[in-house]
Symmetry: C2
Subunit: 216 residues, 2 copies
Amino acid sequence: MHIVQPGSEFDVLRENNKIAHENYRDMKAHGIRSVDFMGSIGAGKTALIIEIAKRLRAKGVRVCAIAGDVTGVDDYRRFEESGLDAFNCNTGHECHLDANLVRKSLSEIDLDAYDAVLVENVGNLVCPADFPLGTDYRVVVVSTTEGDDMVRKHHDIFLHSDIAILNKMDIADAVGVDPEVILGDYRKLTGGLKEMYTCSVRTGDGIDKIIEALGF
Amino acid sequence: MHIVQPGSEFDVLRENNKIAHENYRDMKAHGIRSVDFMGSIGAGKTALIIEIAKRLRAKGVRVCAIAGDVTGVDDYRRFEESGLDAFNCNTGHECHLDANLVRKSLSEIDLDAYDAVLVENVGNLVCPADFPLGTDYRVVVVSTTEGDDMVRKHHDIFLHSDIAILNKMDIADAVGVDPEVILGDYRKLTGGLKEMYTCSVRTGDGIDKIIEALGF
């Protein structure tokens, strides 16, 4: 929900950015690399983070996740069941994480015990765009099941993120979506300056390239 | 994006509800039945509205659609190409339609020329919950591809809507989701007082029952 009163939006975003910088500095001081995974419901953020974390652990990277949701512990439990240390972060009503919520989560985490923090934002392709959390990378995850018009409809989040990921490539045909349309729109929007990576969490295709793009 | 300043949220929501009542009264004065379709990206709202409108037209119901999106004309064009009179309603940046945006759209529509107005809200399962538009029915559409935890994660929108629709039943198996979990969560949340209808826009299964539930 987007509530704008004269003057208030700017203040809220400025305050968020200030706290985001603190988060960034704190994580850097502990040698932590961090990623904010944004994207709609069903894009596959949870499964992608689980798969990335699994491969990072195999490389010896000590990783934990912050599970952002409006309510509930579903993603948190999925993380824990996969063997990934997780911290639950409910917004209560809000449609996105903000830097202050992440700050509270970070205060619960022993930052010396980890090399990487993977943050799963609330399932929403609109609102998280405006709220940097202080991570090294902001990633937007979309899936082929969302249709081929995602980039055309949601400029902001693609422009505000560092890289994009197109997931569920294995069922693109089954849902009648041509990935080339999405990739083409992304190239057009970003002028070819940023890359959209394709993957399928289910088959494992493309995951290693994403890990590399995130600097691990 | 959800910006809350002390006092402002209540004022904004109260103002929205006031305008929603005006929308409702205006549409009623012209004998119009209206429905607000909310749901995440990729839930299939556009295709569902096209299919419902097609069947309504076959029954002699004069129907038009309001295509709500952050930006672009994709859904508007899909409506028009399907033979459905449509009106584009871009929010610019906002993550949901509000009563005032719909009021502006209604002012462009010859209300005497239609019996039904179908509104497609912005693809978002969080924010639209708080903003009634003044329609007879508020419907939330989810799809099996979104996972089985939708109801558990998004209480608000399921509680604030009149009925729910579970779409893409035809690929539930392929995406490994058990619809009974979602239906069970919905029954639990609503105490069995409201119904979640299952359908597949692609096969056409379940659409007539939904049309009936909407009072057409």
